[in-house]
Point group: D2
Chain length 308, copies 4
């Protein structure tokens, strides 16, 4: 199954589950895979920034990817993040992931690139590096400091048939999303566009023309349902449901800390066995844990989807 | 009236109102001042980052500050932001503001300072530069890239009696807030601490020991009310009210764009005449305006405080 | 006298002389002006980054500029740096400088702009802000983190007749300089191009087609002479003379520290009365002073131009 | 052979030789190893920033390190750079390098760490990650944006016996080097300190108390000889020789471009077969090549050590 521009829905970004001692926890990975598919995921993304990818060595990265891809067994496409500080590591991981059955790879431009020419040159080279894999362009300037304009996206889309998806998480980024769709309406090649940013603009992203969202929010059932409601024209109901989750979405968006919160929520839902992060990474303080539990409890009272 | 460590409540960060042609709009400034005081503001902050301070020249900055301070007439303390690329401009503005009746000044470390020693040296020099003015330390690393640890804050507090307030808007920053309060409990000099970040963690900030918040959210009535509810022990009610406002808070937090949204909301509330920003600044697209109106309408239906 | 694209030679960037107590030292400014003109300067640049511009308030900036411009009395064009955190301050300073007789203004893009579109928008707005003043584009990404490609320079040159000069100090930047000259050879409007970066690539810049250099090296006589030698075809002699000065050029290029070294050298040459910098700024340690003196002594023995 | 604090002299940072098609060129690696040892290197450093380390995958990194370490055969200590985006990759590479016979590893703090506490926490964790390997702290803020004060260095030195060397390349950094030596004179544990920065401050570094230098300058014979002359009290002769090389040192220091220049010079000296860099990397233009050749020819006429 190869990723193409018809991709849509909710691609859940999977964290990488570790045991309390930091070892890869493949049992949790299997359980998590089933949970996300049951939640309505139409795809999975592994080894993204939220997957603590830089904290795995090359062998572990491939082992984790192979394990999940095998478990998914073709039910949905699996995307593997291959952003790396150099092209050699990117090539190795991309080849290994595709050999293991990935549907495509995801690439963000190297942090700190300056000037549109340098960014475009990097992305063109990266596309060559991943061979014949379909690829997702991750536009995430909060982390990379790299600006990618709507025009750069459509230029790449027109010249590179293997670029099939944009993960749109510039911030602010809604007008850019609209600009890309407008350019497509005038003839540019159409990409699948999935939103991101922890889901904090999910309703707006769908309303602006995104085909779905790719994020790691701890309650992906909500992402699926909100998108459906909007597509069914139930705008107020969509926002009603979404707004219930905003307090948790916001709490999960805290840089660094957010992933620890997310893993805690997944552990509380029984999806992974341990909330441990590898070093360097934050540990939740008692005060933070209490806040998370308070938010989860309020949410569980309001949205029956969330069972703890 | 001089600012001291007993300051508390809601200090509203005032935008700088412009006419559509970019001229200072002092009539709107006067109306805005009254609106914020009626909303329950216990202080005002002028010429912060949200006040487009760098877009005013030296004469305009002082004229605007004088106008608002005169209008306030001593009812609440007024803080003037004096962060500047150099100490000469900081000194001029601080002197002018204090002469005009400001209660204190606010200083953020210069962007890009690296290493705790350099940051401390800068802040100590800046304190000298503003003469005998009470001052507020703005901890806003998202903009400055400067890290200020809890230990640095308490060291400064202990050695500099004119440092009276911390505007705490590191992100994530709640555990740092708790750490400072813990150090104070063990003997460090107590500062007034106000939260920030557009209010997105208001309930948690108060629960962690903040004395209030300093932010420019377009519906400051909510900030006042949520703080009161928490202090009265009505935690669930506080979160219920706060959560109603999260969709707008989140929308206003978009870097760059948020101020334009905020000014639009203030214009829609009849508080300022024009939502214009000076260049360089964003203009709201029709799609963005429609989203803001949708959010405002939903909020007005749920919180009668907000009349449009 | 208005700056135009025929400008060439050595534009000396003047430091701002202060007394030991930090007061503006206008006597030294006058003496320095004469010294630079005697050294063969074909222009002066005031209030550049090396001129500690952000450490002057608005009134001081204008007073200093007026003093020097009056002293120059039209013998050479004087350029005033007007880069500022906002357009209001830029407009005020540009108007004041031009009213005082400046030949043009110099603008660097605001630090941190991302994406070619944002950079171009900023520069187009800035050009409007400075009214009818001829302007110099300062391309200095080491400080601004902003990339300006050769194509962006020629696009601006073609559309804006008031853009008359490029201060080319990207690093590395020699191939970009060649690329701009190549584009001009194919029809783009020709700009005056002056090098920079403390002179560390002076011979190469001239050989690549620069019309001269704009920098604050403490021995501008060398800059003048090296350029002349290259234009006369005396390439080896030019490099021989230049290489004598490289140890000092290199020492002056240390970020932050270099300006203190430069002021010390100018003081030792009897050109300014004090080497003082305003805060925040480094003070030379005894070990550093000894190194500077050693380098100056070696240079004075080899290049009789340098009298101490 | 384990690295300890008695290390001194010239540790040459080896580039990673590639064939024109980008394949690892182990024959050149062997020839280069012999050339550096003949030049007087007292140590080698592999997989530093200049070694294009991020462009090798994990297997290649180890293969290259093993090949060179075997070739060196214990004649001098070999240090392997293990800075990596995550600790898992750092651990794998450190273990592999030490197993292959490396004398120690080199670690720079992760780019972008803010605040002294975060930097110290990272370095302490990294020291644990590399197991029982002696390690070198690389202080290179131009690349990492991380400030490490003299006090932080001596704190780490006192608490971690496996920290044996500082690669001192802050810029400016000479006064920090002096400050560390002064702290050691007052009782802090003494580290080996080697300078860096392409050698551009070699004489000053040695005079300030550095035990040598670790850099990849293309003519390491000069580094060896200059250090000897200074230690023999021949200061003027040392500077005379050094100054001959400054034009090339400066040219090699251009970020990004410099490594291509350095590889070209090594190729011209017959030390490596190809000057190729892996992507993304610059290609020297004809104009740049001509400048390099001009500089090399001038140098070869003045310093007979350099045969082309």
């Amino acid at each position: 199954m190869m990723l193409d521009t018809s991709a849509a829905g909710v691609f859940v970004i999977a964290p990488t589950p570790f045991a309390d001692d930091g070892a890869l926890d493949l049992d949790s990975a299997a359980r998590m895979t089933e949970a996300f598919l049951e939640a309505g995921a139409t795809g999975l993304t592994l080894l993204g920034i939220m997957g603590e990818a830089p904290k795995l060595d090359a062998e572990e990265s491939l082992r984790f990817a192979q394990h999940v891809i095998t478990r998914v067994g073709g039910r949905v496409p699996v995307i593997v993040g291959v952003s790396a500080p150099g092209f050699a590591a990117m090539r190795s991981l991309a080849r290994g992931a595709m050999d293991a059955g990935a549907a495509g790879v995801m690439i963000a431009p190297a942090a700190g690139l300056r000037g549109d020419d340098a960014v475009m040159a990097y992305l063109r080279q990266a596309s060559q590096v991943v061979g014949d894999a379909p690829w997702v362009l991750q536009d995430y300037p909060q982390l990379t400091s790299v600006a990618i304009s709507a025009g750069m996206v459509t230029t790449l889309a027109n010249e590179d048939a293997r670029l099939v998806m944009l993960k749109a998480e510039d911030h602010p980024g809604l007008d850019k999303l609209s600009a890309i769709r407008a350019a497509e309406a005038k003839g540019a090649r159409r990409l699948a566009i999935l939103g991101g940013n922890g889901g904090i603009f999910l309703p707006q992203e769908i309303e602006r023309g995104a085909d779905g969202i790719m994020t790691g929010y701890a309650v992906p059932e909500m992402l699926v349902r909100v998108r459906e409601l909007i597509l069914q024209g139930e705008r107020e109901a969509a926002h009603d449901l979404f707004d219930l989750h905003l307090p948790l979405i916001r709490y999960e968006l805290q840089p660094g800390l957010g992933l620890a919160v997310r893993k805690h929520a997944l552990m509380r839902r029984g999806i992974i066995a341990s909330a441990a992060l590898r070093n360097p990474g934050p540990k939740l303080t008692p005060a933070t844990l209490a806040e998370v539990e308070f938010i989860l409890a309020r949410l569980a009272r309001r949205d029956p989807t969330l069972r703890l």
